[in-house]
């Protein structure tokens, strides 16, 4: 986030008056394959209100601005402190977590409108709730774990240097929210799991592949991961639009991870050609 963004948001927070009414425009959809429509709700804003608290008000009294009683809006959330990623949605056209989205920053004046839409690259379950299981499928596809399961004790693992730990820590903060995928022009909606083995993996799983490739025990599966990354949907399909790194709420250096994997598959390609 740029400093001007920060300054603009701080200014908006200072000017916002509690007790004002704000319009929340929600893209509604009753279920997979059903048509969607917009409904607008007027919400009274308290100091510190966020999108989830507004959705709670709407759930308590689901009446649109036209006065029509409707069904409560469905959404997903968990931690309410931007660490689980469940509440991710598109707010005013950009993807982000809704629990950490302050109304004072987005709608500082009476009558301001905030538009909420479900994430665009995952199948909608209902309203703002999407099914993000493709991300977990992709973690499995890339074997994004440390292989330690066995029938006997493997003893202590290799020593890890503090520098390596430091580098991996950033990558490990990924909360599988999917912002990086929703904003990526190469990652497209794929309703059917049948295509998930060849469709673009995206930055989230690239980060995790690098995390486990740079872990001394995790590296046992390094070549398996690289093989997947060299195939259809792998890191070779990244188009370097670099939206992923811009929208990642955890500020994970995703484009550096992509370039590192690019180097790793280049080396793997030569090794494969000349030695195996």
């Amino acid at each position: 986030m740029t400093t001007t963004d920060h300054a603009a948001r701080a200014a908006a927070r200072r000017s916002a008056k509690p007790g004002r009414k704000v319009l929340i425009r929600v893209k509604r959809c009753e279920g997979p394959g059903k048509p969607s429509r917009f409904e607008t709700f007027a919400v009274t804003i308290e100091r510190g209100a966020n999108i989830i608290s507004c959705l709670q008000q709407i759930a308590a009294n689901p009446v649109t601005v036209e006065g029509t009683r409707t069904t409560p809006v469905v959404w997903d959330s968990g931690c309410l402190e931007e660490v689980c990623g469940a509440c991710t949605m598109i707010i005013n056209g950009k993807v982000r977590q809704s629990c950490s989205c302050l109304i004072d920053e987005y709608a500082p004046a009476e009558g301001d409108v905030i538009t909420l839409e479900p994430m665009s690259k995952f199948p909608v379950v209902r309203d703002l709730w999407v099914d993000r299981s493709r991300m977990f499928h992709n973690l499995k596809r890339l074997r994004a774990w440390v292989p330690i399961d066995g029938t006997y004790s493997l003893g202590a693992g290799p020593r890890e240097s503090p520098d390596a730990q430091e580098a991996r820590y950033k990558l490990s903060t990924c909360m599988t929210c999917g912002c990086c995928l929703d904003a990526c022009p190469q990652f497209l909606l794929a309703e059917s799991p049948a295509s998930w083995d060849t469709s673009f993996v995206g930055a989230q799983a690239f980060g995790q592949a690098l995390l486990f490739n740079s872990h001394s025990t995790g590296a046992q599966l390094k070549n398996d991961r690289l093989e997947v990354l060299m195939g259809p949907g792998g890191v070779v399909d990244c188009g370097n639009a670099q939206n992923c790194v811009k929208v990642c709420p955890k500020e994970i250096p995703l484009t550096e991870a992509i370039a590192s994997l690019g180097r790793a598959v280049t080396i793997r390609g030569f090794t494969r050609f000349f030695t195996s």
Partner: protein, 280 residues
């Protein structure tokens, strides 16, 4: 492991996916990008050639002569046709066909996310699309002599390189010029298409060089990517300058003056040069 299993139902395109991807990237730089560099430098000789002017020469004369020398030099390359096919046309066809296919796998979203790198991503694809059209038109008309695509039916003639190029950009045959025409509407359109096509391809190459470094894993840190970005932008500006100076050079060249210079130029090279003249 499962990779062996998943490979068993993959077609040859999927099995060689990595190789094709890397060859696409490589062909963009070598030979296509390197050719672009030489090609634009050669073309701009109609301008930088003037730096070499002799005493008593008209202002544009040495430019026309230098350009003619460059063209003659290229045409004297042994097995030129084979070099063209394997060094240029096949790599360009390969890069273009795969490029069109890859471009179709993405869906630009600059309306929601208007960041610079994202706009460059979209422009890389747009410049590819326009680039194929432009390159096809360029090669078909100038190299394969599909004169029916040329306003005024002008044919480029390697023996009279500069003057016929000036005619091409004016969209006017020599006869039309005699009758007092300067630029025809068709010529204006061709000239604008050249400006657009060449600029987009220069952008495409410069930005491609930037992304290729990430693709291959040469630039990893953000700092390194920025540093290489400055180099690529610098190269892009230099190539733009070459491209525009040659275009403006040919567009402002008087075809009749240039033809007169070329006649005296080919004169000392023997009777074979008369062939080009006899066509007109």
């Amino acid at each position: 492991m499962t990779t062996a299993h998943t490979q068993s139902h993959q077609g040859p395109l999927d099995r060689n996916y990595f190789l094709l991807r890397r060859l696409h990237s490589l062909t963009g730089v070598v030979p296509i990008g390197v050719f672009l560099l030489f090609h634009l430098t050669t073309n701009a000789s109609v301008v930088w050639g003037m730096l070499d002017s002799r005493e008593g020469e008209a202002l544009r004369e040495r430019g026309v002569r230098t350009f003619q020398n460059e063209v003659d030099f290229i045409h004297s390359t042994p097995f030129l046709f084979l070099v063209e096919i394997f060094g240029l046309w096949l790599p360009i066809a390969f890069h273009s066909i795969l490029g069109l296919y890859y471009a179709k796998t993405g869906k630009g979203n600059t309306a929601s996310y208007g960041w610079a790198a994202n706009r460059r991503y979209s422009l890389q694809r747009l410049s590819g699309y326009v680039g194929v059209l432009f390159l096809f038109y360029h090669v078909a008309t100038l190299r394969w002599h599909w004169t029916f695509l040329m306003p005024g039916g002008v044919a480029w003639d390697g023996e009279r390189a500069a003057s016929t190029l000036a005619l091409v950009l004016r969209g006017a045959s020599e006869a039309a010029l005699e009758a007092g025409a300067s630029y025809t509407l068709g010529g204006v359109i061709v000239s604008l298409f050249y400006m657009l096509g060449v600029s987009l391809l220069v952008y495409h190459f410069a930005n491609g060089l930037w992304t290729a470094a990430i693709t291959w894993g040469l630039t990893i840190s953000q700092k390194a990517q920025q540093r290489w970005g400055v180099v690529c932008a610098g190269l892009g500006v230099a190539l733009m300058a070459l491209a525009w100076s040659s275009l403006l050079g040919f567009m402002t060249l008087d075809p009749k003056d240039a033809a007169a210079i070329e006649r005296s130029h080919s004169g000392h090279k023997g009777p074979a040069m008369q062939l080009g003249d006899s066509q007109h």
